[in-house]
């Protein structure tokens, strides 16, 4: 009898919660956008955080001087309604929007930007992105303590609504960089109310305290559960904002996220389980989206390692990889074979380097380098962080190198932080790597391989390459700049300290109810253009 009661009770419990309306279905009425956001954000202080989930939240809460034009490229007015650039490309005058307000109703002024930029350049804050503003006169010197007077830094409030910025060199991508959250303003009084200018642990980012100037304002924040932002009535362009709320879910498990999407709990996912991508492509899943992305997957070669010092060896390794096969049979999600370090098409830049798949030539190069059957190439190690996708790719390359060059390859996977620290100290031969552009310009890639850049990690340096990138960045003419970048790219590929493998794509699922969520090479989706509508 007791068993019977138990099952009747269970049936009632399940029946009681059956077939309820899913969050996605109800959002057509409520205007709530359910966003799969990958992982729990570190925080929402734009001067402290780093990372993509943080960007997704911050783009709804704060606004920089400009915002990227997601439809036709270029930039749209943000906090600044217009801007002019001097003929030499070094002076920018921004006219701020006089209707621009913080979420508490205070006006957004030029002083707010000056103070915010001073904050990120304050060394004791420990911001990880101060170099985004190193293009300003005196900024690097202020951050590194060479000068202590912020008046010497190239940013001034001419009047309440006019901001003047002086750069060291003409930097054509400067406007584009302003879409990065590290350059966005913070509300001075709010920050100082909860701590000093350099307080990393200030409580100003908590719900109820947080003040910023974006289309939404912070409503609630449940750790590891969800962050809710609601429409900001004080936003200067609030009439354009169609969504009432956005709910960000930190779903770190991709399979869970996939299930949530299928059950109607999310409008958009942060990514896709890699094993499901080919299945969804085959099924013509209408929710699947594969967008271009400004990111490159490559292998770093440690040029200080005795086996890899010889450029012929590095080229042999690069020429014996069939990239087409990698994207068709291993990654299988629309990735594009890469033959340059900078992804082609980044803001109109088309690199012209070639990396042939030519096992014969590769074999010859290895022989030229002095390796033969009697003197075989020593065992090579591929280092990667523990991840099934990296393993699959490494396995394929291991096979190609063994088959085409006769090189014995060992795969070494390490925990993320161990992998990073081994890369950092140069304790590797070949290591897998990925790079996503911070702004739409080839410099975001090519700068990486200059000497003394912390992310170079290959030990390779070339004075010619360095001066080429340096010269390109001191020019105002985009065509000439790109020619220099192409030349630099040729030098890079000719020396092969890195082996480009494929260009990333952004693969995710999107509900057909979501409109205005257009593809963007940096994966920027400004929430004021997003709306929900059922066809």
């Amino acid at each position: 009898m007791k068993t019977k009661h138990f099952f009747i009770l269970l049936a009632f419990v399940i029946a009681g919660c059956s077939k309820s309306v899913s969050p996605v279905d109800s959002s057509i009425e409520t205007g709530v956008f359910h966003f799969g956001n990958g992982s729990e954000p570190q925080g929402i202080d734009p001067h402290i955080v780093t990372g993509v989930p943080e960007h997704h939240i911050l783009i709804s809460l704060c606004e920089g001087l400009t915002i990227p034009n997601l439809n036709s490229g270029g930039n749209l007015p943000g906090a600044a309604e217009s801007w002019t650039v001097s003929d030499d490309g070094k002076e920018y005058i921004f006219k701020l929007n006089k209707n621009g307000k913080w979420s508490n109703g205070d006006p957004v002024t030029a002083d707010d930007f000056v103070w915010s930029w001073m904050r990120i350049l304050t060394a004791s804050l420990g911001s990880q992105y101060p170099d985004m503003l190193y293009y300003l006169e005196g900024a690097e010197e202020y951050h590194t303590g060479i000068i202590s007077n912020f008046d010497e830094v190239g940013v001034k409030a001419v009047d309440k609504y006019t901001l003047k910025v002086n750069l060291k060199n003409p930097t054509p991508f400067f406007i584009g960089m302003l879409s990065h959250y590290s350059t966005w303003p913070v509300h001075k009084d709010t920050v100082l109310k909860h701590g000093a200018i350099d307080d990393r642990n200030g409580q100003w980012t908590r719900p109820g305290n947080f003040v910023c100037n974006g289309p939404f304002q912070l409503k609630s924040w449940e750790l590891n559960n969800k962050i809710v932002v609601e429409k900001n009535p004080n936003y200067w362009d609030s009439e354009k904002v169609s969504l009432n709320e956005m709910h960000f879910y930190p779903v770190s498990n991709v399979m869970t996220e996939d299930r949530m999407f299928r059950a109607g709990q999310l409008h958009v996912t942060s990514t896709l389980p890699s094993q499901k991508c080919p299945i969804y492509i085959e099924e013509n899943n209408p929710d699947l989206r594969i967008d271009p992305y400004m990111g490159q997957y490559f292998y770093r070669l440690n040029t200080n390692n005795p086996s890899l010092k010889d450029v012929r060896v590095r080229k042999a390794l690069a020429f014996s990889i069939d990239r087409k096969l990698l994207v068709e049979k291993v990654t299988k999600c629309g990735q594009i074979p890469a033959y340059s370090f900078t992804p082609p098409g980044s803001n109109g830049y088309q690199p012209d380097t070639k990396i042939p798949f030519d096992p014969e030539l590769a074999k010859e190069l290895l022989t030229d380098a002095g390796y033969s059957e009697s003197n075989p190439f020593p065992k090579l190690e591929i280092l990667f962080n523990t991840n099934e996708d990296h393993r699959k790719l490494a396995l394929a390359i291991q096979q190609m190198w063994q088959q085409n060059l006769g090189i014995e390859v060992e795969l070494v996977n390490q925990d993320w932080k161990v992998y990073l620290s081994r890369e950092m100290v140069g304790d590797f031969q070949v290591s897998r790597a990925g790079w996503i552009g911070d702004y739409e310009d080839p410099n975001t890639f090519l700068d990486l391989m200059r000497p003394n850049r912390g992310n170079n990690k290959t030990g390779w340096e070339d004075a010619n390459y360095d001066s080429m990138v340096e010269r390109a960045n001191s020019m105002n003419d985009q065509t000439q700049r790109y020619e220099l970048f192409k030349e630099a790219e040729r030098i890079l590929i000719d020396n092969m300290p890195i082996i480009p493998l494929y260009t990333y794509v952004r693969s995710y699922q999107l509900s057909p109810d979501v409109k205005g969520y257009n593809p963007h090479i940096l994966d920027h989706h400004h929430p004021k253009f997003i709306y929900l509508e059922r066809d």
């Binding site: 919660c17 951050h143 449940e222 750790l223 869970t256 059950a263 990073l420």
Partner: protein, 307 residues
């Protein structure tokens, strides 16, 4: 019993002190630091960050600082989440993890004891074989398979229950609690069957039967008190294991509990968070083991006499 309680509490202090010290130096040995990232920070920035978190001091100084804070109940700030203290994060995740563990242990106890006792009473019949076979499956099927399986059936195919979340949608607590509870139910079923079988063969049960007592009273009043001692002894470590080991279920079902903080802290090298959660979970293990020992003692007159 009170003396035992206080003695064990006193013994727990050096245990926790040792756990804290060993963990502190172990994480210092682990390669990689909290600020290592894909986009490497410049030496200047790294220096600033280390200064901000006192990581530029010697290990010994940092240890003394940490232990001094710990004695005062300060677990320090999280390195990964600026502006959040470790105590705050534990306080946020703990109620959720406790609630999940409570439902899971409730399901485990109800299912496990019922099936175990039933199997013992109907020994060598299909009412014994079937529950025990199910228990064996429960022990063998890991939660990372059981969870998605339940989601597939009840969430995606039958559309009866939400596939994830905690306290967000009606019924979203059912599947995670079942997933976590099922594995423990299986253990409890086998333990209660074994315990009951042993007791049911004892002389005092035979005497009770000879005196003509109703079978229900014999089972509930006399047999279960002794037969369930193994279950009670198992409950202490089980509850501690549930708390610390709920990470998988929390991840599958997107539950904002403490288990996720614990594991992710290790991946992020969030030193203070690793230390804080390790010390906290150690304290929980000590505490629940003590509780279950005391409960077993109370249930078993023989060991009570010995004490």
């Amino acid at each position: 019993m009170i003396a035992i309680f206080f003695k064990r509490i006193l013994l727990a202090i050096p245990v926790l002190f040792a756990v804290a010290s060993i963990t502190f130096f172990l994480i210092k040995i682990a390669p990689g630091g909290p600020f290592d990232a894909d986009k490497a920070v410049s030496p200047q920035v790294l220096k600033n960050l280390n200064e901000a978190y006192n990581l530029d001091a010697s290990n010994w100084e940092q240890y003394v600082d940490y232990m001094t804070g710990l004695i005062q109940g300060d677990l320090g700030p999280s390195f990964r989440f600026p502006g959040r203290s470790v105590s705050e994060m534990i306080a946020t995740g703990l109620p959720v993890t406790f609630e999940l563990a409570f439902y899971a242990i409730l399901i485990a106890l109800v299912m496990g004891v019922f099936l175990g006792v039933l199997a013992a009473l109907k020994r060598n019949t299909f009412l014994d074989f079937i529950p025990m076979a199910i228990a064996m499956i429960g022990i063998c099927v890991p939660s990372f398979l059981m969870g998605p399986l339940l989601v597939l059936i009840f969430g995606l195919n039958l559309e009866l229950l939400p596939v994830s979340g905690w306290d967000q949608l009606p019924g979203d607590k059912i599947l995670p609690s079942l997933t976590l509870g099922f594995a423990y139910a299986a253990y409890i079923a086998r333990l209660s069957r074994g315990g009951m079988l042993e007791v049911l063969n004892q002389d005092f049960i035979r005497t009770a039967r000879a005196k003509g007592l109703a079978e229900r009273i014999i089972v509930v009043k006399h047999a279960m008190q002794g037969g369930l001692i193994p279950v009670v002894s198992f409950l202490g470590p089980a509850i501690a294991g549930l708390l610390a080991g709920s990470f998988v279920v929390e991840t599958i079902f997107q539950i904002p509990g403490l288990g996720r903080f614990y594991v992710e802290a290790a991946f992020n090298r969030d030193y203070t968070m690793i230390l804080g959660t390790t010390i906290f979970f150690s304290a929980m293990i000590v505490f629940f083991n003590l509780l279950s020992d005391l409960a077993a003692l109370w249930m078993n007159p023989r060991s009570r006499d010995v004490q």
